[in-house]
Symmetry: C2
Subunit: 307 residues, 2 copies
Amino acid sequence: MTAITLRQLRYFSVLSKSLQYRNAARQLGISQPSLSLQINALEETLGTRLAERRRSGLILTPEGREVAAQAEKILQDVEKLYRISGPSENRLTGTLHLGSSPTIGPYLLPRVLRQLHTAYPDLKLVIRDGTPREMTEDLLAGKHDLVLTQLPIARDDVSHKFLFREPLYLAVPREHRLAGRDHVKKMDLAGENLISLNSSYMLSRQVSELCAASGARLRDDFEGTSLDALRQMVSLGMGMTLLPALYAGSEVKPGEGDVAITQMKPGLYRQAGLAWRRSSGTPASFLKLAEFIRGVIAKEFAGKAFL
Amino acid sequence: MTAITLRQLRYFSVLSKSLQYRNAARQLGISQPSLSLQINALEETLGTRLAERRRSGLILTPEGREVAAQAEKILQDVEKLYRISGPSENRLTGTLHLGSSPTIGPYLLPRVLRQLHTAYPDLKLVIRDGTPREMTEDLLAGKHDLVLTQLPIARDDVSHKFLFREPLYLAVPREHRLAGRDHVKKMDLAGENLISLNSSYMLSRQVSELCAASGARLRDDFEGTSLDALRQMVSLGMGMTLLPALYAGSEVKPGEGDVAITQMKPGLYRQAGLAWRRSSGTPASFLKLAEFIRGVIAKEFAGKAFL
DNA sequence: GTAAAAAGATTGGTTTTTCCTATCCAACGG
DNA sequence: CCGTTGGATAGGAAAAACCAATCTTTTTAC
């Protein structure tokens, strides 16, 4: 048994409106016999007569009416297929799966999403958190289309676009001797305790390096799993740590709470970017999204992050 | 530019689930190269890559995910096409356009429709009234699939199925000398006035014939356009007329109102049937519907109409 | 009533599409 | 480093779609 084809549905759709073979065939740019054969094949496949052939116009059978209606619906849905990728060069549409680092996403994405929704209502982002290590795996495995993560990325099967550079501030307990200082130099940290996230976060490596360079001690009896947990530990006097500017700006009020924020001199920074599989090419939509995020940062995080 | 085909969508649908060419090709019962070519053609047509080919499984692009979802929808809708005529030999489904005579339909169809809806919930009847003359035209023009009308039908391009035979009763003003009589013979009508519907109704011909046979006078200064109008005229004393049993049974209460109903002896009858274009064949659904109507009559109009 | 016109069905042969087998090439695993 | 795996490519055969020409029947015109 031969299957239905879209060609048959297209032909029958036109025929059901024109109600005349020759006319319909002309509209379709084919010969009348071709049309006849296709309609016959469709009837054969469905096992029903779709129209009564009469010299003066066709009459659709009840089944023919239903088939025509259903065919119409199908053809419209097929038309939508063409539009899925159609004007997407210029517009952001569809659904993107975005992996997000827990140290960046929660403090950046809320504002991005709000503006994104008004600017590109047809774009839907599915966001999933994960440690940077997991995220790279999941990106390569196809669970994400792109990930928002800290740079640099040391893999050659992943492409990326730089988004922003963000200062890292020193967070100390409020009653600590360094609290309230205008700025802190590395050597000021000699002998102090530093705590950090667990090692799958890049931030932890920067804390380690700071320890090595300054003579501070890295407490290995505790590793936070979130920036909030880290801040709590600092406030409890377990030690000091580095907190990203975006986080500090949104979660630590100057002069309030048990944690004081101080700039480092010279400054420490981290970089964030948008990354994707090299094998996915470099879809225009990815660059477009990156550009949009940079726009949001420029407007909403002026002074806290640098493009 | 080549068009999308259902074949391509079917293939891509399976591929998007299996995420492996060889596997998908085996499921589809085709060779792997055939699958490759069809998918390539689809990508070419849409102008987008739908999947990243990697040795370890495919990864759908965002567009690929959308196309897969839309294809799924389309394929399901196509499946419905097969079902339109599928089990319809056994079942009544879809939409039938039924033309109905104003002297039969309103008094028969309400009960038929109620039972029809419970017995065949998937059948929809679109009912349009019209004079018998119009109806035959509209039937042949394709505006109706079938018509409920009085028999006989004198056209060889129309087939029909007999439904029931229905007595015609004499309706006289209540104060008339014939009111209350057990039965009336033709000769009793000599010299009386008879009124009838306009001539496009078959009932009018039977009134004419009764006049000719009995010596009654046909008043040509009035022609009703509905049975209700006719009854009103009788009650106003304009004359007497013939009313079908189904109408009389539903609209004229014995002993009430200004009109009295009397049987004729020997009886007068009319026949009703379901008719359709000969060129539409004789769809099983038509006969099925006719049988169903006869069933309703047997149950609900016992004694008033005869099968 | 008859002839011309119109409209769908049929036929035969050509072009296009689809498919398969065989082969190739890159990535991965041991 | 070599064998295995999985998608891409090439060539030729089978199937499908198409058109021009023709046939048959209905409709229209005179």
